[in-house]
Symmetry: C2
Subunit: 604 residues, 2 copies
C-alpha cells in the first residue's frame, strides 16, 4: 500500500529559499517561515491521517441519490466536518469573518496537498473558497453578514452553478431566469447540470452562486447576473438556514472518477435568490470565482503530478524486475529494482519536474495575488498593474499546463506500475480517473488557450507577456556568469526572445484572420507552459546551487528549517533542471512548429 | 447515442489503391478486393449489430467470480458463441484446420474493428488466434489434431499464461514448475496472474499456453518451456474435453476497464500439460504468440484512435457551442457547431491521422507477414529475409506507437466532449478506460522500445533499419517531381537520412555504455513512429492525389468499388497529410533532442 506524504521540504524551500520569488512581488503577508512550517505540518497531518486513508473507499462507495437527497460516503461527510471544525476552511480568509488571514501561498500549498490526498474532497473546499471570494468582492453587507461567517467556518458550503445542459463553455446561452420581486429579492427558475457538490448531507446549507438572466436582460453574457441561492433560507435569525428553498437536486451523474463528489442536476423552481454584484454584471462576479477556481485547478494538476510521482517512486524502489543494462546492480537479489532502468527514471523525472515546476509557478501566482490585495500605499500603482497583468497572464497557463501535465504524470504512474497499475488495488488507476476531470472543468484547455492568446496576450498588445519575458531576461542577465548552468541559461534566453517574436507574428496573422488565433492557441499555450516552467525550474536549481555553497550551508546549520533542504534535496533540484532542459523543454519547439503552421493546416 | 461504423472505405482504399503497398511486398494471398469487400462488410455488420450495442452494458455488468467459477456478462458469452458459429474465429486460419485461409490483411482489418466495437471482446479472439499460431508452428501432430479444429472453430479458446505476481516484464524469474511424467506428459505446479480470459463460462475448454520451468532446467529465460494445459483433458475421444484438469481460477481482478474480460489468477495444482516445441525453448515458442499479440495490440491502438475519432466527429458536428472567431457561421442557430473551432478540428485531425496512418502501417505489416509465409519458390531468399527484418523492425513500433497514440486519441475524445466526456453515458470515458491497458500488456512501451533499439536495430547493426529507410528514400526519389507535396517530401527525405545517422551515433555511445540504449530507447521509438507514419501518410496522400486526376477518376467509374473513394474521401486524405506534416511530425524533433541527451540527464 502506498502512502502520500505532503512534500513539505519542497514547499518550505519555495517559501523560504525563494522568499519573494526573486523579489519580483512582495507578498506583503509577513510570511514567517517557521509559522508557515507549523501550519503546513498540521495540514499535512490532517490530510495524511484523515483523507488519504479514506480516498479509495470513498471512490468505491460513491454517492447515493435517494428520494431527492444526496448522500456522501459516510467517511467523506465526517472528514468534511472534521476539516471545518479544525478551522482549515477559513485559513486564508479574512479574520473579521472568522478566518485566519494567512497568505495565499500557504493556502496554495494546502490546496495542492488536498488534491494529492483526496481529489473529490479537495473540490468542496476549493469551491467554498471561491464562493467566499466572490461574496467578499461583490456581496452586499447584509449578504456578507448572513453568509460569510458560516461559510468561512465551513458549516455552510458554497458551490458554483453555471452550466446548463445546452451550454458549458458558451455561457451566453444560459436560460435560467430570474424575476425581480418587490422586496428586492429575485425568483429563479431553471435547470442546471454538472453542479459539483450542489447537494449533499454533510452541510446544513449549501449556498449556490447561480448565473441567471433577468427577464428582459440583453442576450448573451451581457445579460447575465449572479445570484446567491441558499438551499435553506435564513429566517428570523439571520445566520440560521431553516426554511427549505426551492432548490431541488434531481439526479447525480455516473462518471469516470471523483465518485465521492456528487455531480448534481439542480432544479430551481421559484427559488429565492439574492443579487451579488450589479445586474447584468454576473460574468464579472463569476470571474472572481472562476479565476480562483482556475488557480485551484492548477493546484489539482500539481497535486496530481506529485502524488503520481510519489506512488511511482515508491513502486519503482520496491519492485524488482530485470537487470540494469550495465549488468546486475544487486547480484544477490533475483532482479534489480525498477530504478536501474533508465526509462523508469525518465518517467519519474517527468512527474517530478512537472510537480516541482508547477508548484513554483503556483507559489509565484499566489504571491502575485496577495500583492495585488495589498493596500495602495504598500505597493505603487505601476507595480500593482504589472502584477495584475502577470497574474492574468499566468492563470490560464497554470490552469491548462499544470492539468495537462498532471494527466501525463498520472498516466506515467500507471506505466511505471505496468499491468499492476491497471488494477484498482494499486490506487494509481483512481488517480488517473479522478485527475482526468482537471482539463475539463473551470474552462477546458482549449478555453484557457483562447483566453491566454486572445485576451491576455493579444488583448493587451503583448504588454502582459513583455512584463514576464523581461523578468526572465533580467534573470538570465543576472546569472550570466553562472558557469554551472550556462547552457540552460542560454536556452532560456533564447526562448525569452523567441516567445514575443512568435507572438508578434501571430498578432499580424490574426489581424487578417481572427481564426488564426484559434488555430494557434493550444500550441501557444503549451509552448508558453514549457518556457514558463523552464524559468521556475532553473530559478530553483540556481538557488539550490547557491545553497550548496559550503559557506552558505554552514550558515544553514543555525537555522531550524535547514534540514528541509539537505544536500540530497538540493542536488535533486539541480538534476531535475538538467533533465527538464534536456528532455522536456524541447517539446516547446514542436509546439512552435505546430502553432506557426496556421489555420490552413486545420481543414478537415 | 453514438454508433461506431467500421471504416470500410479506408480499409478498401488500403487494400485496393495501394494493393501491394508500393509493391514492396507481394502479399501472395491472391487478395481479391471485391471478395475482401464482401467479407469486411459482413464482419462490420456483425460487429456493428452484435458487439457495439452490448459494449457499454458489458462494461457495467462486468464478470462475476463465484465458487471458483467465472461468469461473463450473458450478452458477452452469447456474442462469443455467435461469433464462433459464424466462422469468424478461423478467418485467417489454414483451411486444413477448418479455417478460411484468408489474408492476414483482412484479419487485421477485422481485428481493428473488433477493438473499436468492443475492446474486451476483441482480446479473446486475438488470444485464441495467437495460441493457434503457436500450435501451428510448434505443436506436435497429435496436439494439432486434438486441439486445432476446436480452437479454429472457436468452441475451445486459447489463452496465454505467462505472468506471475513477482514477474511481468522479467520472465526469467518464472517459478511455475513442470515435472516430466513417464507417459511423455508433464505435471505443472504454480500460480499465474493477469491471465486474460483464463477462465469463463463461454467456452467448453480453455486452452492455456503456460510458460514454466522444468525441474533442473537452467535459470532465467533459457530454462523456460511452453506447455499446453487444457482446463479439460480430452479423454477417449480425442476432440472432446471431458475430464477436469487441475486448472483452477482462484480470483479475478478489479480493474479500471475491460470489465467484461476476466483477468484471472490461475492455480495449476498438478495440472497435466503437454510440451509445445522443444524443452527450454519456451521463449521462442512464446514469441510466435507474443509477436502475433503485439500486432494485435497495435490494431487495438488503431481501433482506439478510430472509434475516438468517430465519436468526437459526431459530437463535434451535433453539439453547438460558441461562435466561429470569424463571426457566426450559422447565425440562425443559437450557436455554431463545435466544428467551427480550430482547436476542435486540431483534435479531430490528430485522431484521424493516428487512425489512418496506423492502419496503413498495420496493413503493411500484415502484408509482410503473409509474404514471409509464402513457400520458398514464390519469394526469393534475400527478399524473404528483408521482409522478415522489416516485420521485426516494425512490430515494436506498431505495438508501442499505435497504442500510445491510441491513448492520446481517446483522451482527446474526452476533451472534445468536454465535461460530458467524463460522464459514463457518453461512452468515451469507457473507451479511455478500456484503452489504457494497451500500452501495458504484451510488453509495455518501455519493453517495446528496448526491443526496437537494442535488438531490432542495434542488434542487426542497423541493417533492418536501412532496409526500411532505403524504401522511404526510393519513395522520395520516385516522387521528386511531385509539386503538390514537395515540402512534405523534403521533410520525409530529411528524416530518412537523419534516422540512420541518429542510430549510428547512438550505437557508438552504446558501445561505451550499454545504459545509453535504455536512456534513448523510448524517445527513439517515438521518433521512429512519427517518421514511419509520415511515410505511410504521405504515401496515401500521393495515391489519393493520383486518383483525383480526372482521367483516373473516369476510369474508376467502371469500377464497382470506386464509390469507396469518393472525391471527398480522397481530398480528406490529402488534408490529413498536410495536417500531419505540419502539426504532428515536428514532435519527432522533440524526441530527437531528448534521445540525444543521453543517460547523464536521467540521474535522479
Amino acid at each position: 500500500m502506498h502512502h502520500y506524504q505532503a512534500p513539505l521540504a519542497d514547499m518550505l524551500f519555495l517559501l523560504k529559499a525563494i522568499p519573494a520569488l526573486e523579489n519580483a512581488a512582495p507578498d506583503g503577508s509577513d510570511l514567517d517561515v517557521s509559522d508557515a512550517s507549523l501550519v503546513l505540518t498540521q495540514a499535512a497531518q490532517f490530510i495524511e491521517k484523515a483523507l488519504v486513508p479514506i480516498n479509495q473507499s470513498c471512490d468505491q462507495q460513491g454517492c447515493r441519490f435517494e428520494a431527492g437527497e444526496v448522500f456522501l460516503p459516510e467517511q467523506m461527510g465526517q472528514a468534511l466536518k472534521d476539516y471545518a471544525a479544525a478551522g482549515w476552511m477559513g485559513l486564508a480568509m479574512p479574520e473579521p469573518w472568522g478566518g485566519q488571514g494567512l497568505s495565499s501561498r500557504i493556502a496554495a500549498c494546502i490546496g495542492e496537498m488536498l488534491t494529492s490526498g483526496h481529489h473529490a474532497f479537495s473540490m468542496i473546499s476549493a469551491l467554498n473558497t471561491s464562493a467566499i471570494k466572490a461574496l467578499l468582492s461583490f456581496g452586499s453587507d447584509t449578504l456578507k453578514q448572513q453568509y460569510l461567517p458560516k461559510m468561512v467556518s465551513g458549516e455552510w458550503l458554497g458551490c458554483m452553478s453555471l452550466t446548463e445542459s445546452h451550454c458549458g463553455s458558451d455561457l451566453g446561452l444560459i436560460r435560467c431566469a430570474a424575476e425581480a420581486e418587490d422586496d428586492g429579492t429575485y425568483t429563479l427558475k431553471g435547470n442546471k447540470i454538472f453542479i459539483s457538490a450542489g447537494a449533499h448531507d454533510a452541510s446544513d446549507n449549501i449556498i449556490h452562486l447561480v448565473l441567471a438572466r433577468l427577464k428582459g436582460a440583453p442576450e448573451g453574457v451581457k445579460g447575465l447576473s449572479l445570484f446567491l441561492v441558499p438551499s435553506y433560507l435564513p429566517d428570523n435569525e439571520p445566520s440560521n438556514g431553516k426554511q427549505k428553498n426551492q432548490v431541488q437536486c434531481i439526479g447525480i451523474e455516473e462518471k469516470m472518477g471523483i465518485h465521492s463528489n456528487p455531480t448534481c442536476s439542480i432544479c430551481y423552481e421559484s427559488a429565492k435568490g439574492f443579487l451579488v454584484g450589479e445586474l447584468n454584471q454576473g460574468i464579472k462576479v463569476m470571474f472572481v470565482m472562476m479565476n480562483e477556481m482556475r488557480m485551484g485547478t492548477a493546484l489539482q494538476g500539481i497535486g496530481l503530478s506529485e502524488v503520481s510521482y510519489q506512488y511511482s517512486l515508491e513502486y519503482a524502489s520496491e519492485r524488482r524486475q530485470g537487470r540494469s543494462l550495465k549488468g546486475a546492480v544487486e547480484p544477490n537479489e533475483d532482479a534489480d529494482s525498477l530504478m536501474v532502468h533508465s526509462d523508469v527514471r525518465r518517467m519519474l523525472l517527468t512527474q517530478r519536474a512537472f510537480a516541482e515546476g508547477g508548484r513554483a509557478l503556483s507559489q509565484f501566482c499566489a504571491q502575485l495575488f496577495d500583492s495585488i490585495e495589498l493596500s495602495a500605499s504598500e505597493l505603487d500603482q505601476p507595480e500593482r498593474e504589472n502584477n495584475k497583468m502577470l497574474l492574468n497572464l499566468l492563470t490560464p497557463i497554470a490552469k491548462a499546463f499544470c492539468t495537462e501535465t498532471g494527466l501525463e504524470s498520472s498516466s506515467l504512474a500507471i506505466q511505471v506500475f505496468g499491468g499492476h497499475g491497471y488494477i484498482c488495488e494499486s490506487g494509481v488507476e483512481q488517480i488517473y480517473r479522478d485527475g482526468r476531470i482537471a482539463t475539463l472543468y473551470e474552462g477546458t484547455t482549449g478555453i484557457q488557450a483562447l483566453d491566454l492568446l486572445g485576451r491576455k496576450v493579444l488583448g493587451t498588445q503583448g504588454k502582459s507577456l513583455l512584463v514576464f519575458t523581461k523578468k526572465l531576461h533580467r534573470f538570465c542577465q543576472q546569472q550570466q556568469d553562472n558557469q554551472a548552468f550556462s547552457s540552460q541559461l542560454a536556452q532560456l534566453a533564447h526562448y525569452t526572445q523567441e516567445w514575443p517574436q512568435l507572438t508578434q507574428s501571430l498578432g499580424l496573422k490574426a489581424m487578417k484572420d481572427h481564426q488564426e488565433v484559434g488555430a494557434a492557441a493550444y500550441d501557444y499555450l503549451m509552448y508558453s507552459g514549457y518556457v514558463t516552467l523552464a524559468y521556475f525550474t532553473l530559478l530553483m536549481a540556481v538557488t539550490a546551487q547557491g545553497l550548496l555553497d559550503p559557506l552558505l550551508l554552514e550558515d544553514q546549520v543555525e537555522d531550524q528549517t535547514a534540514n528541509h533542504y539537505s544536500e540530497a534535496f538540493l542536488n535533486a533540484k539541480i538534476r531535475t533542471a538538467h533533465f527538464y532542459f534536456a528532455r522536456l523543454l524541447p517539446r516547446a519547439d514542436a509546439h512552435k512548429a505546430s502553432l506557426q503552421s496556421g489555420e490552413a493546416t486545420l481543414a478537415i
